[in-house]
């Protein structure tokens, strides 16, 4: 026996005698995972989180989270002699005087953008395929939590350098706190340790950014993954795939290599962005002072939609009994995001209430086969996108020679008009795609080959689909795959009527093609 094998065997024996790990590993090393590109989106989020931990730790070795005033005398000459906070000073030091410091800062910032983008893309995948359905509601809730904390974490992160742009962001956050009725000015003073900006804020958000929230992320991600592991991954419908099985490749060796390799690919791509694409060049903004600002002040994209909503708000304030309530801040800054995120968290339960479907689902929906859900998703995305456009209205106005007022009015109207249109259009597209599926199964694929019949008639040859494809396109409407109708007792009263109405709307489907249809067509065909 080779020496290396002997050593490995001895080590394994040592560990197993103390933990019994062999039994667990034997079962789990061969765990089966289904293969699909869209299952990588969550992986990207996970890997960018690891990249964030690694690069973030590097940054903490030099970053000084303090608002103590210092005079800059580093190698970036345009700011020589300028008074600034130690936080800004140390970020400049990182960027210009630490080898690889700028690279790490840029990788960290890019990784944060990728982290948030991957979370959102993963959310879309899970939503549009119905992966949140029973038994995966807990993981949906954890995901909504991760998204929410991710937005906060990102905002706090880019606020740390204490430059003119980030300070402006903090100023706006302070104004939101200050606008909260009754307790606003107290909350602001408690959060900032006194008047804004003060000297307490950067140290406080630093500890939240590097310890509290990352700890929370670690805990939530761990539970998220343990549940994925225990509940086994969902899979797309197809030949051989059922609600009772999972078809794919074993963890060892295929997924170890693929997933492990993919981590390095994500790292490589992020490193490449950090190397060649400048991001958040804080030295151009200067240190924060409340009396100054730069034109084109923009938050990162995951905050941009909120900023866009705030920009679109009409100038509404209530003045009564010597008090002021700023609806122009509260509605776009707190109330609408609150409704959106609560609605998102509750969606799995709402859908199950409407359909009355309490069964486990492991086969994913093709988005077209759940037209209402898909339409609702596109409606929400439309709302957010219109807000996001408005969040960049100044930049868009200058680049496309539009007026800011024009974009703002487009937003104010569009926020109400475009989402419902998106709903109707998406639902129609879904139903049309269902019809197209039906036609495809019954008539086969167009081949583009024209044949002239003896009588001169021109026909296009259609090629019948494979059995596998036919099954994939029709399996969702097997009687056992559809939820039972609501019992009459569930549709009593106003709540029941609403439920029945939504249930009926949800049941609108194009009947999938059946073998009977195909045979009848064959009989009548000439």
């Amino acid at each position: 026996m080779k020496k290396s094998v002997k050593v490995a065997g001895a080590t394994a024996n040592y560990v197993d005698e103390r933990t019994g790990a062999a039994k667990w590993l034997k079962k789990n090393l061969t765990k089966v995972f289904p293969d699909h590109w869209s299952f990588m989106l969550g992986e990207i989020a996970l890997y960018s989180f690891v990249i964030l931990l690694l690069t973030g730790t590097f940054l903490t070795f030099w970053f000084d989270p303090s608002q103590r005033e210092v005079v800059y005398n580093g190698s970036y000459l345009p700011l020589s002699g300028v008074h600034m906070s130690a936080a800004y000073d140390s970020t400049l030091h990182l960027s210009f005087d630490v080898r690889g410091g700028l690279l790490m800062r840029q990788i960290h910032h890019w990784a944060a953008l990728i982290f948030m983008s991957a979370i959102v893309a993963h959310l879309f995948r899970v939503f549009f395929t119905g992966a949140f359905r029973k038994p995966r509601e807990f993981n949906w809730l954890i995901g909504v939590g991760l998204l929410t904390f991710g937005i906060v974490e990102g905002f706090l992160g880019y606020s740390l350098p204490d430059d003119l742009l980030s300070g402006t962001g903090i100023r706006i956050a302070e104004a939101i706190l200050q606008a909260i009725p009754v307790v606003g000015s107290y909350l602001s003073f408690f959060a900032f340790g006194g008047a804004f900006p003060g000297t307490a804020f950067i140290p406080r958000i630093f500890i939240v950014h590097v310890l509290l929230l990352p700890g929370l992320f670690l805990a939530l991600i761990t539970i998220h993954l343990m549940l994925v592991w225990y509940q086994k991954h969902t899979q797309y419908p197809g030949p051989g795939r059922t609600e009772k099985n999972v078809v794919g490749y074993p963890l060892m060796p295929v997924y170890m290599a693929k997933a492990g390799g993919f981590f390095f690919v994500v790292f490589g791509v992020t490193a490449f962005l950090g190397a060649v694409a400048s991001i958040n060049p804080i030295w151009l903004y200067g240190p924060y002072t409340p009396g100054q600002i730069s034109a084109g002040s923009q938050p990162d994209w995951y905050m941009g939609w909120l900023d866009g909503l705030v920009r679109a708000a009409p100038p509404l304030e209530t003045h009564a009994f010597g008090h002021t309530i700023s609806w122009n801040i509260l509605i776009p800054g707190l109330i609408i995001p609150g409704i959106l995120f609560t609605g998102m968290a509750l969606y799995p339960f709402i859908e199950s209430w409407i359909t009355g479907d309490k069964r486990e689902h492991h086969l994913l929906d093709r988005p077209r086969n759940a037209p209402n859900r898909t339409a609702l998703g596109v409606t929400s995305i439309t709302f957010i996108l219109v807000s996001l456009v408005n969040g960049g209205n100044d930049i868009i106005a200058t680049h496309f020679h539009l007026t800011i007022n024009g974009i703002m009015w487009f937003t104010r109207v569009g926020l109400f008009v475009l989402p419902p249109i998106a709903f109707v259009v998406t639902k129609r597209i879904c139903l049309s795609l269902q019809r197209a599926d039906r036609d495809l199964v019954l008539h086969g694929k167009e081949t583009g080959r024209l044949v002239m019949m003896p009588n001169g008639e021109m026909l296009e040859v259609h090629e019948p689909l494979s059995d596998a494809k036919k099954w994939t396109l029709t399996q969702h409407q097997l009687p056992e795959a559809l939820p039972a109708p609501l019992p009459p007792s569930a549709t009593v009263g106003l709540k029941g009527k609403i439920r029945a109405r939504l249930n009926r709307a949800n049941a609108v489907q194009i009947p999938a093609a059946t073998l009977t249809d195909l045979k009848e067509l064959g009989d009548g065909h000439h």
């Binding site: 190698s75 084109g296 100038p315 486990e360 099954w471």
Partner: protein, 333 residues
């Protein structure tokens, strides 16, 4: 003919198709070489990273198209790191795709719901062990425990009270008073009307009493914008007109919406625009809001000149500056 609808049937897993590398030893060797080359490229990337760290000077910049001025060392460190990580990943994936088993396998799922017997056992256990504590019977204990648990969270909440002082009148007050000199920011020098041409804009801060330090907290309330117009451009009532001096009008620079610095002045239209949320104020009409989310005009500072001809405040601001807050009495603007 029966009414039974016949549906398409699941044809089951398709037959496994072997890859080139599974059947052709040459293709297998080729795939092996590809993987090895990718891993070696990663190693080369690490060498490049270390070389860039040691041998490239930190202060060398070059101009690259699209990227602009770029630090050469940071660039090569980044390229090296990219290569060292990316190629490990690509190597591993190529290995998995070309050489590792690609036959799909089937694993069974299990229902998560426990067996009925287990569930009944659980309830029985809960009753037996939980019941032995007698929580159901002992309502005194139950209620007092409720009170205790309800209150225990208050201590940490109270302890957070000292995270900051009380705001008191902070939001209502600022450093401007009658006779306060306007100092140019950042020069800190007093300013005369003749220093400003028509169309010019200047940021000023109040001269603070001797011994008072200028802080960012105060600047956040004190910053004022001076704008000089032709006097005939104003569209003000008599009182507000008397607050201007030779066409110079002064406004708080702190946006009444969310406190950003309102710094974009459009000379032709006399509009002031806040770059944060695009609230637009008309300078000729005492900074009335003409667009955007701000609900109140920028407070106007009454100015005049002192004996030496320097611009000074005629009186303090008549309303609190900056964004709204609950305690703000906005009935008079």
């Amino acid at each position: 003919m029966s009414n039974q609808i016949e549906r398409f049937q699941d044809p089951g897993l398709p037959e496994h198709v072997h890859r080139n590398a599974d059947v052709d030893p040459k293709a297998e060797k080729r795939a092996e070489r590809q993987v090895a080359v990718l891993f070696l490229l990663s190693a080369a990337g690490t060498v490049l990273t270390i070389a860039a760290y040691i041998f490239i000077k930190s202060d060398k910049y070059t101009y690259l198209p699209v990227m602009g001025s770029t630090n050469i060392q940071q660039l090569f460190l980044g390229i090296g790191l990219t290569a060292s990580t990316l190629f490990i990943g690509l190597g591993a994936i190529q290995w998995a795709k070309k050489l590792m088993p690609d036959q799909e396998v089937i694993a069974e799922r299990h229902e998560f719901r426990s067996e009925e017997a287990d569930r009944e056992d659980f309830v029985a256990t809960l009753k037996e062990y939980g019941g032995s504590a007698g929580l159901g019977r002992r309502s005194l204990i139950k209620r007092s425990m409720g009170v205790a648990l309800g209150l225990v969270g208050l201590s940490p909440l109270v302890l957070l009270r000292d995270t900051g002082p009380l705001p008191k009148k902070f939001f209502e007050t600022n450093s401007w008073a009658a006779g306060t000199k306007l100092l140019l920011d950042p020069a800190g020098t007093p300013i005369k009307a003749s220093d400003l041409e028509v169309g010019a804009v200047a940021q000023v801060l109040p001269e603070l009493p001797a011994g008072t330090e200028r802080t960012l907290e105060n600047t956040g309330k004190d910053a004022v914008l001076l704008i000089r117009l032709r006097p005939e451009d104003f569209n003000l009532d008599a009182e507000r007109l008397s607050w201007t001096h030779e066409g110079i009008i002064a406004f708080s620079k702190i946006c009444t919406h969310m406190g950003c610095a309102v710094a974009l002045y459009e000379q032709q239209t006399h509009h002031l625009l806040c770059p944060c949320h695009q609230s637009t104020f008309d300078v000729t009409r005492a900074a009335k809001v003409i667009f955007g989310p701000a609900a109140r005009p920028l407070p106007q500072l009454a100015i005049t000149v002192d004996a030496d001809g320097y611009l000074v405040a005629k009186q303090p601001f008549t309303v609190p500056v900056g964004p709204s807050f609950w305690e703000r009495n906005s009935s008079n603007g």
